[in-house]
C-alpha cells in the first residue's frame, strides 16, 4: 500500500509536464496560407484558418464555420507563436490539411519553408497549392455554399478535377519536399484561384448569390529549384500529368470534320519515361492509353474495325503532339519537371555524376521521342451513331 501511494505521488508530481489539453482549449488550424509580407521588408505574411466549433454545435448558427487570422513575422515559427496575439486559443496544427502559397512568394523563392512542417507535430500528407495571380489570404477567404469551409472546398475541387480531367494533382507536402531536395526532377504544384473577386465584404452575401465566387483550380506551376518559373495551362497541365502517370481519367477531343469533334475519354494511362544517351541525352516517353469513344459530333462508322484503327492512329498522333508540345514548353524554361534527369541518374550514375551541374541545359536541348500506343475499345452501348436525315 505504501508503495502504491508513493508511486501515485511521484506520478502526480509529473502530471504538469504532459500533453493534456481539453478540447475546448484548442484552436484547430486547418489551413495555412503563406504570402510575401506587406508591412515589413522580409519575412512572411501567414494566414491561419481556424475552425469555429460553435458553428457546428446545435445553437451555433449565425457564425461562420472558420475564422482567418493573419499575422506577419520574420520567420514562420515566430508567426505561429505571434498568432497568439489574436487567436484566443492554443493553436494546434495537428489537423492541418492544406498549405497555400501566394504566387508572389513562389516566384521570389520558397526556400526551406516546408521544412518546418516536417519537423512539427503536423502530419505530412496534406497537399500544397499555389494561389495563382493572387495571395493565399484571398483564396482562403471565401466560404462557398457547397462545402462547409474553404479548406475543404479547395481540397475537394482539386481532388474532383484530378479524377475528372487532371489539371490538378494534390501533391502532399512530403512529396514536395523530396522533389525539392532530390536531384534530377523539379517540382510541379497545382494552382488555385478565385473564379471571380468577392463582390461584397459580407461572406453571407456570397453564400446567397446563385453564382457565388468560388475556388477553381487553374494551371500547374513549374518550378526551377524553389522558384516558380512558369505555368502549364488547361490541356498542357493535363498532358504534363499524363507524362508522369498521374492521370486517372481525362478527355481528348479529336477534330473530325470542320470544327466538329470526336471525344475520347481515357481510362487507364501508363507512361514510361526514360533518357537515352545517343550520345547526347534524348527524352523518351512511352505511353499506353486506353479509351472509349464517348461523344461523336460527326458520323463515323465505329463498328467498323478499320475505322477504329484509323481513329486510334489519329488519337495517338494527337496525344504525341500534345506531349511533345508540353515537354517543349518545359524545355523552354529549362525546368525538368518530369524527372528525366532522375531516370538518367538511376540508369547511368556515372554519366549523371559528371553532368549533374549542366543537366538543365542538356535537358532543354535534348531531342524528344514520344511513342503513344492507344487502344480504343468499347464505345458504350451504341455502335454507330444515328444519322441526321
Amino acid at each position: 500500500m505504501r508503495k502504491a501511494i508513493s508511486v501515485l505521488l511521484i506520478i502526480g508530481l509529473l502530471s504538469g509536464c504532459s500533453n493534456y489539453r481539453e478540447l475546448n482549449e484548442v484552436g484547430l488550424i486547418i489551413a495555412i496560407g503563406i504570402d510575401l509580407p506587406e508591412e515589413r521588408e522580409s519575412g512572411y505574411r501567414v494566414t491561419y484558418q481556424v475552425i469555429n466549433p460553435s458553428y457546428f454545435s446545435q445553437n451555433g448558427s449565425g457564425s461562420l464555420p472558420v475564422i482567418n487570422y493573419t499575422v506577419e513575422a520574420e520567420t514562420f515559427i515566430e508567426a505561429y507563436r505571434m498568432a497568439s496575439v489574436i487567436i484566443p486559443r492554443e493553436n494546434r496544427v495537428t489537423h492541418l490539411s492544406l498549405i497555400i502559397i501566394g504566387e508572389a512568394l513562389a516566384r521570389a523563392g520558397m526556400g526551406l519553408i516546408f521544412d518546418v512542417f516536417e519537423r512539427g507535430e503536423s502530419r505530412s500528407t496534406f497537399p500544397v497549392f499555389i494561389a495563382r495571380d493572387s495571395t493565399a489570404e484571398e483564396v482562403l477567404g471565401v466560404v462557398e455554399p457547397l462545402e462547409s469551409n474553404p479548406t475543404k472546398s479547395i481540397i475537394s475541387t482539386s481532388e474532383n478535377n484530378q479524377k475528372m480531367y487532371a489539371i490538378s494533382e494534390a501533391i502532399p507536402i512530403y512529396r514536395a519536399i523530396s522533389l525539392l531536395s532530390g536531384e534530377g526532377q523539379n517540382l510541379m504544384l497545382s494552382g488555385v484561384k478565385l473564379s471571380q473577386p468577392l463582390k461584397s465584404e459580407n461572406q453571407t452575401a456570397n453564400l446567397q448569390n446563385i453564382k457565388p465566387s468560388v475556388v477553381e483550380v487553374s494551371g500547374l506551376a513549374m518550378f526551377k529549384k524553389d522558384q516558380l518559373a512558369g505555368w502549364f495551362d488547361g490541356k498542357f497541365a493535363r498532358t504534363a500529368h499524363l507524362i508522369t502517370s498521374a492521370v486517372e481519367s481525362t478527355s481528348f477531343p479529336l477534330a473530325c470534320k470542320g470544327n466538329k469533334n470526336i471525344t475520347i475519354t481515357t481510362q487507364g494511362i501508363k507512361s514510361d519515361i526514360k533518357t537515352e544517351l545517343k550520345p547526347e541525352p534524348a527524352l523518351i516517353v512511352n505511353a499506353k492509353i486506353r479509351g472509349n469513344v464517348t461523344e461523336l459530333e460527326c458520323y463515323l462508322e465505329i463498328s467498323n474495325n478499320e475505322e477504329m484503327i484509323k481513329l486510334e492512329k489519329k488519337f495517338e498522333k494527337e496525344a504525341e503532339n500534345q506531349i511533345r508540345e508540353t515537354i517543349t514548353k518545359a524545355q523552354e524554361l529549362e525546368a525538368d519537371v518530369f524527372g528525366f534527369g532522375k531516370e538518367l541518374s538511376k540508369d547511368d550514375p556515372e554519366y549523371w555524376k559528371r553532368h549533374e551541374k549542366e543537366w538543365n541545359t542538356l535537358f532543354s536541348n535534348a531531342e524528344i521521342d514520344v511513342n503513344v500506343e492507344a487502344n480504343i475499345s468499347n464505345s458504350g452501348m451504341l455502335t454507330d451513331p444515328f444519322k441526321l436525315q
Binding site: 506520478i11 509529473l14 500533453n19 502530419r123 500528407t125 502532399p172 523530396s178
Partner: protein, 367 residues
C-alpha cells in the same frame, strides 16, 4: 513451487523482440544509401558468428551466468572487475535504449511532454516486471511477439495498399561499390542488434536443459535479419535513399505517409505500441541482467532494493547521458560501437573463450 524455466519458443520470441528493439526504428545501414538492404542481409552472418562464441562459452559453464564464469576463467579479482564492468555496460546500454524510446516518443506523439515523465513511467513498469522474474518476462514475451508480429505485418500491408512502394528507388545497385557496405556492417550493424546478444550469456542458465539454444538462436537471428532486410527495402522504396539518410526515425516518417481511402491514416498508436513494447522488452532484459549480475557479484539476496536502485540509475542516466538527441545519436554511431561494443561484445568474449579453452586443455594435460 519452483519457477518454470524458459522454453524454446519463449527464448526465440525474447531474442527476436530483443534484437528488434530499437533497430526497426533506426536507419540501419543508411550510410550505404540505396544499398542499405545489402547491409542488413549480410550483418546477421557476423551476428551468428558472435552468437556461436557466446554459446561455446556458456557450454563450458552451463549453470552460470556471464558475470560468474568470468571469475572462474580469470580468477577472482580480475574476474570480479570484468563482471563489474559488464554490469555497468548493461546499465549504460539500458539507459541508451531508454533514451532512444524517450526521443522516439518526444519526436512526434509526445512533443509537449518532458522526457523524464516518459522515463519514470517506463521504469516503474520495468521494476514491476523485473521483480516478477525473467521467467514471467519470457512468457509475456510470447504474447508481445504475437502482438508485434501482427502490427508489423499490418503496417507492411498498409504500405502496399496505399501505393507508397516505389521499387525504382532501389536502383542503382552497388553504385558506390562494396566499400560503404563493409564500413556499415563493421562495426555498427554487427554490434546493434546482433552483438548485443552477449547479454543472453546472462540468461542461458535460466533456460530449460533440453532446449537447443544454438538452433533457436540461429533461427531468431535469421528471422530478425530477414525482417530487417524487408523493412529496409520497404523504407528505401518509400522514402528514397536520400530521405532515409536524412530522417532520424525513418519508420516513423514512412508510417506518417499511410493514407488509405481517407480512413486508415494517423497510425501513431501502432507506432507507440511498437516503441513501448519493443523498448520495454529490450530495456527490461538489460535491466534484469544488471540486477542478477549485481546480486551475484555483491552476494546480495534477491530483493526489491537492487531493482529499485538499478531502475533509478537507468532512469536518471538516460537523461544525463547526453545533452541533446543529436549528441546522443553521435555517441551511439561514432563512439559507442568502436569502443564499448567492440570491447564487450567482441574482444572480451573471444579472449575469455581462448583462456577457457587453454585452461581446459591444460587441465586435461595434467590429468
Amino acid at each position: 513451487m519452483p519457477k518454470e524455466k524458459i522454453d524454446g519458443i519463449q527464448l526465440f520470441c525474447l531474442m527476436v523482440l530483443f534484437m528488434f528493439g530499437t533497430a526497426i526504428f533506426l536507419d540501419l545501414g543508411s550510410g550505404a544509401k540505396q544499398d542499405a538492404w545489402i547491409v542488413t542481409i549480410l550483418s546477421p552472418i557476423t551476428g551468428l558468428l558472435l552468437f556461436a562464441v557466446y554459446y561455446r562459452l556458456y557450454k563450458q559453464y552451463p549453470s552460470l551466468p556471464l558475470t560468474e564464469y568470468v571469475k572462474k576463467i580469470l580468477g577472482k579479482y580480475l574476474g570480479s572487475i570484468i563482471s563489474y564492468l559488464y554490469i555497468i555496460y548493461f546499465i549504460y546500454i539500458a539507459s541508451r535504449v531508454l533514451r532512444d524510446i524517450e526521443e522516439l516518443l518526444i519526436s512526434s506523439p509526445y512533443a509537449k511532454t518532458s522526457i523524464i515523465t516518459l522515463g519514470i513511467c517506463m521504469v516503474f513498469a520495468l521494476i514491476y516486471a523485473v521483480n516478477l522474474g525473467l521467467e514471467v518476462f519470457a512468457r509475456a514475451g510470447v504474447i508481445c511477439f504475437a502482438i508485434i508480429s501482427v502490427t508489423l505485418f499490418l503496417i507492411i500491408i498498409f504500405y502496399v495498399i496505399s501505393d507508397l512502394i516505389h521499387a525504382e528507388n532501389l536502383r542503382p545497385v552497388l553504385a558506390n561499390g562494396w566499400k560503404p557496405i563493409i564500413k556499415e556492417i563493421f562495426p555498427v550493424n554487427m554490434t546493434v542488434p546482433y552483438g548485443e546478444l552477449v547479454l543472453f550469456s546472462m540468461i542461458f542458465p535460466l533456460i530449460k536443459r533440453e532446449t537447443k539454444i544454438m538452433k533457436t538462436g540461429s533461427m531468431a537471428i535469421g528471422f530478425v535479419g530477414l525482417y530487417l532486410t524487408i523493412n529496409t527495402i520497404v523504407l528505401i522504396c518509400i522514402l528514397g535513399a536520400d530521405l532515409l539518410d536524412r530522417s532520424a526515425f525513418p519508420a516513423l516518417a514512412a508510417v506518417g505517409y499511410i493514407q488509405i481511402a481517407g480512413f486508415i491514416q494517423r497510425l501513431d498508436p501502432l507506432i507507440i505500441l511498437l516503441i513501448v513494447f519493443l523498448g520495454f522488452i529490450k530495456v527490461g532484459v538489460f535491466f534484469y541482467s544488471a540486477v542478477i549480475g549485481m546480486n551475484n557479484l555483491f552476494k546480495l539476496k534477491p530483493n526489491a532494493f537492487t531493482s529499485y536502485s538499478v531502475g533509478g540509475i537507468i532512469c536518471l542516466s538516460s537523461i544525463i547521458i547526453a545533452p541533446s538527441y543529436q549528441s546522443h545519436l553521435d555517441e551511439g554511431l561514432k563512439i559507442v560501437p568502436y569502443t564499448l561494443h567492440i570491447a564487450f561484445q567482441l574482444v572480451i568474449p573471444i579472449l575469455l573463450f581462448i583462456v577457457a579453452v587453454i585452461r581446459l586443455k591444460w587441465k586435461e594435460h595434467k590429468i
